[in-house]
Symmetry: C2
Subunit: 342 residues, 2 copies
């Protein structure tokens, strides 16, 4: 099934029935991108030799629409989203599974493009896609393609990074600008054309995590990627888990001009818009300068900034010091600001 | 969110937005069934201490309709389907992730029932559901609920069970009757009422696998659960992977009377209908009697039967000796016999 063979071809219910057509889809499309020659391709589960240790395990389903958008696509997102959830525990991502739910009638060329994108993203992230599954549902029972990825990583024994690890005095560092991913998807979906195209920030973050841990070791208390719900919601989760108050400064928050403009037009707050290639690091104050410098020296952290600090008062809450000097409560996202953003 | 609170409540887009409503759904529903007190519930990934060894890893998405059917539901299926794929490599199932894609408007009481069923099935299978994700798509973009489960198991170093392990002379043993799951789902979907209700055979198979390995050790060459595509397709996969011919006898195939009757009405061949609590074991001929006796002594193998044997001729092909003495080629399932059966 070369690319040319697939032009005009569509996914049929057959492709998910577990019979000959399923076998051909796996052989001719998925294994072309994800396959190895280890003879494990048609087993019920794959066997992986692993050193003992602290296994990190995470799952995420991707339902983004449109499936292709400026800066990425659902396949790249599905790889980066899951490797980043492993990285946020300080774990090196190793293996992914990929479960596809396809709508009857999906263009095979679109699926091919998505699989190619996943394979490329996996190489960039240093992981292997070793297990897969494909289901097909009748036209109208799903929307084009949904992808679940589930990941396995390994964490060093010494690493103890957790959403409950923030301590009063910690500095809150954001690795770059807010809201690029969410706005890139939304602008494409709504047909909003801006002077400057907003591109998704989707990227694998383990390299940046490794650099941060290298710079500050156990002084790194929390790492978290602010995806759905954005920086505002993620900080709330950390404040709740760690039973601390978090105070951030509006004037310190990095946001691209185009994102500010689009948010104004659409009535959105960039604090709640999803990111797919950014992280929040909460580190002991003594190490904050070192972490900031390390992040800025990394290609995925050039615009990193200290955006606030952790305090013992107001546990479970997040406050924003506005540019005019007021203090406002930053709640979790309430209401659906942006459906199907990842 | 007690059960009573949820009567009449429905899933909203909010529940998948990653903000407060998502947090409440996780806290009040999922963690009530899957939660532990290890403080890992709101991390990006869970950390698991694991002895080194041969990790088995597998993924499966479940899109069955209807979501409740005689003998089971989508939740029980999602647990058993994945633990069985681990068990078929001889691996003890340990951990599962669960990724939900929900359609806006799904009754919360249905989701509650599914989560309860998954928790019960996980206990029965001896696994823990340790990672999860929930996405919500607008009404019409999915059909009620899709569930991905991905599983981790551990295999003993000595175990070498694989679809490519069949050898000429091996006996082919089926652990029980064919087609019960597929027909149970289809009869419910089509409103077909029979004198005897057909119930899904969904069950976790690792206990049976352990008994088989205990009885025959390295003489167990292949284990495989004939789900989508049924026994006919699964035997084809084994014949292809192992480069052997497989010859089965129609008169030896165990099928329930009600399944035969329903297949006649619906024009289906039970050889291609999905099972969710059966396995095929290919073992050295010397151990076949011992394996058969072991299976029959287990509650999930009471109707086990030797259905055929492996030969060196006709590699990659499966043949059925019919009751009247003819020999017919058993191909892989072609065409979609039963969409959305798992």
């Amino acid at each position: 099934m070369s690319k040319i063979d697939m032009v005009g071809e569509k996914i049929l219910l057959d492709h998910g029935a577990g019979g000959r057509a399923s076998h051909e889809l796996v052989t001719r499309l998925f294994l072309r991108y994800f396959g190895t020659n280890d003879g494990e391709s048609f087993e019920d589960s794959v066997l992986l030799d692993l050193a003992g240790g602290r296994l990190a395990f995470t799952t995420d389903s991707f339902v983004v629409t449109p499936i292709f958008f400026p800066g990425g696509d659902i396949g790249e997102l599905a790889v980066n989203g899951t490797v980043n959830d492993l990285a946020m525990r300080g774990a090196r991502p190793l293996y992914l599974s990929a479960g596809f739910i396809l709508e009857e009638g999906l263009a095979l060329s679109d699926l091919d493009r998505i699989a190619a994108s996943m394979a490329k993203a996996a190489r960039a992230a240093g992981v292997r896609i070793v297990a897969g599954d494909t289901k097909v549902v009748p036209k109208g029972a799903a929307d084009k393609v949904f992808i679940n990825t589930t990941g396995i990583g390994l964490a060093d024994e010494g690493v103890d990074i957790s959403a409950s690890g923030a301590r009063p005095g910690d500095k809150v560092i954001l690795s770059g600008t807010m809201g690029d991913h969410g706005l890139a998807v939304l602008c494409r979906r709504e047909g909003l054309v801006l002077d400057t195209e907003i591109r998704s920030d989707t990227a694998p973050l383990f390299g940046l995590v490794e650099a941060i841990i290298g710079a500050a070791g156990r002084d790194v208390h929390v790492l978290r990627d602010p995806t759905r719900g954005g920086v505002g919601t993620t900080l709330n989760e950390i404040a709740l888990s760690s039973k601390v108050g978090i105070f951030i400064e509006e004037s310190s928050l990095p946001v691209n001009g185009a994102v500010i403009g689009a948010c104004d037009i659409l009535g959105l707050d960039p604090l709640y818009v999803a990111n797919e290639g950014k992280l929040l690091a909460l580190t002991a104050a003594d190490s904050a300068d070192r972490v900031l410098a390390t992040m800025r020296a990394h290609e995925l952290g050039r615009q990193a900034a200290v955006i606030g600090q952790v305090r013992a008062d107001q546990p479970g809450r997040v406050f924003l010091k506005t540019k005019v000097g007021g203090l406002r409560l930053v709640d979790m996202l309430t209401g659906e600001q942006l459906p199907r953003i990842c």
